[in-house]
């Protein structure tokens, strides 16, 4: 009985959110407020718990270095008061500094040098391979990389031969965005299927005694 009740509550919220497809209504707004409220409560609880278990409690046990991160975290709230809002710049600068420092080395090697290297390696490996499709694949990737990057060169007018190159680049970009969009569409469908499965498995089948 408890399971069916839980299934009924879940189904109510699914239907309430989907009712927006018909038009904005009070059931949708109620469902939306409940879901956002519950999510926010969960997120607040988890993050508060994290600050306590990883910050406050170890600090109380003598790990004094944790004073600095906790203090920086608290300074972020100074934005709430206009007079001391400038204090929030310290933790923000710290975050940006650390973030940039960590990012730059990895970006250069992982996302630029290694990617360029792999594009060239793939091309040669393709020609060395027995399958002509591998060579074609390597050429397509190389052409795609060069033309797509050319599309973002705005210091030179996209005219003449260069204009043709950027047009090819635009086609590659459109194919790439199309693949992303297709992924999005399948994702939405999967979410919908998941909810249909929930309604079937948690409510309809148990109600019909077929669980």
């Amino acid at each position: 009985m408890a399971d069916i009740l839980a299934g009924l509550v879940g189904t109510f919220f699914i239907v309430s959110v989907l009712s927006m497809l018909w038009k904005d209504n009070i059931v949708f707004r109620f469902g939306q407020a409940c879901i956002i409220g519950a999510s926010m409560a969960h997120y607040c609880f988890m993050n508060t718990q994290m600050v306590f278990t990883q910050g406050v409690i170890p600090l109380s046990q003598g790990k004094l270095t944790l004073v600095f991160p906790l203090l920086l975290g608290l300074l972020l709230y100074s934005r709430l008061n206009k007079d001391i809002a400038w204090l929030a710049r310290y933790p923000t600068n710290f975050l940006i500094g650390v973030g940039s420092g960590l990012m730059i080395a990895g970006t250069l090697r992982g996302q630029i040098i290694d990617q360029v290297k792999q594009t060239i390696v793939d091309l040669f490996a393709g020609f060395a391979s027995e399958s002509p499709l591998d060579a074609l694949n390597g050429v397509i990737i190389l052409v795609g990389v060069i033309t797509s990057l050319s599309f973002f060169i705005f210091t030179k007018e996209h005219k003449g031969a260069f204009g043709y190159i950027t047009k090819i680049g635009r086609v590659f970009l459109m194919i790439s965005l199309g693949a992303n969009f297709a992924g999005e569409l399948v994702w939405y469908l999967t979410q919908m299927i998941g909810r249909l499965m929930y309604i079937l498995n948690q409510l309809i089948w148990p109600l019909l005694g077929m669980a």
Binding site: M46, T53, Q54, G106, T107, I193, L196
Partner: protein, 275 residues
């Protein structure tokens, strides 16, 4: 747009969605078992785990979200089953607020104990910590700088599995689960580039194209979306929720194909007529 045109398109949308819903419902009531070919990146993902020697240390960075679970549950369940079947030592750490809850649900379904696993000796859950890129870097350098205790509050030094494990040097494989598409860069920058840690990834269908450039040199394999979850179920012989989802999405997408085709044909015919 005139109201007449708007009404025409609204009706088309409604027909498309109703057709989509009906087609999606059919395999949920009566599974069809449509064939699903296994892609190379899924095979490589599977083989990367399968080829690990028994007892290897696998760290799972678990950034799952409850609201996106339908897209990824098949991936998770199949992955945990493969890890437990191949007798790997697993360290789960959650990087999202929902992570511990989702993992709890998953482990209740998979039941590690049924594979002879003992908590603390064969697998451990480190709970939630907000690990952005800096957090991943800190974790890889010194696990205890981020986690001093596990999900249940036990000090890491009192957990047998964690006694000799404290950094990337002790980890044989990273399974990086994420739902924000660009987060793959964090794993590449902080684990692959910094420490050369073998890494495989699992993510949403829409994030697949952003993970693809890092495969196979930086990320040895990746799962993207529910379809990849189904493929992993097939290749590993662990049936799960993916099969039904895969059939339903294969059928549900048909009205979209027809709509795209129909709209384009209509557009070009209209343009020809105007000329």
């Amino acid at each position: 747009m005139s109201s007449q045109i708007r009404a025409k398109w609204t009706k088309r949308y409604q027909i498309m969605w109703v057709a989509c819903l009906i087609l999606m419902f059919i395999p949920l009531i009566h599974p069809l078992g449509l064939p699903t070919p296994v892609s190379k990146q899924v095979k490589d993902y599977y083989n990367t785990i399968k080829n690990l020697p028994e007892g290897s240390i696998v760290a799972v960075s678990f950034g799952a979200s409850a609201t996106l679970l339908d897209e990824q549950e098949a991936q998770f369940l199949a992955t945990w089953k493969i890890l437990f079947e191949t007798k790997q030592k697993v360290i789960f750490f959650s990087t999202t607020e929902d992570g511990p809850m989702v993992l709890n649900m998953n482990l209740n379904k998979v039941k590690p104990e049924s594979y002879g696993y003992v908590y603390g000796e064969d697998y451990v859950r480190l709970g939630y910590a907000f690990l952005g890129e800096a957090g991943q870097a800190a974790f890889s350098e010194n696990i205890r700088s981020v986690y001093t205790s596990d999900f249940y509050g036990t000090n890491l030094n009192n957990i047998p599995l964690m006694k000799d494990i404290n950094s990337f040097e002790d980890i044989d494989l990273l399974i990086y689960e994420y739902t924000s598409c660009t987060d793959i860069e964090w794993a590449v920058r902080q684990w692959v580039v910094a420490h050369n840690t073998p890494t495989i990834a699992t993510t949403l269908g829409c994030c697949g194209p952003m993970a693809a450039p890092y495969y196979p040199t930086q990320v040895q394999g990746f799962l993207s979306g529910s379809v990849a979850g189904t493929e992993l179920e097939i290749i590993s012989g662990n049936p799960g929720p993916g099969a039904a989802i895969s059939d339903a999405s294969n059928l549900g997408i048909i009205p979209f194909f027809i709509a795209i085709l129909h709209t384009n044909v209509e557009y070009f015919m209209q343009r020809r007529k105007e000329k």
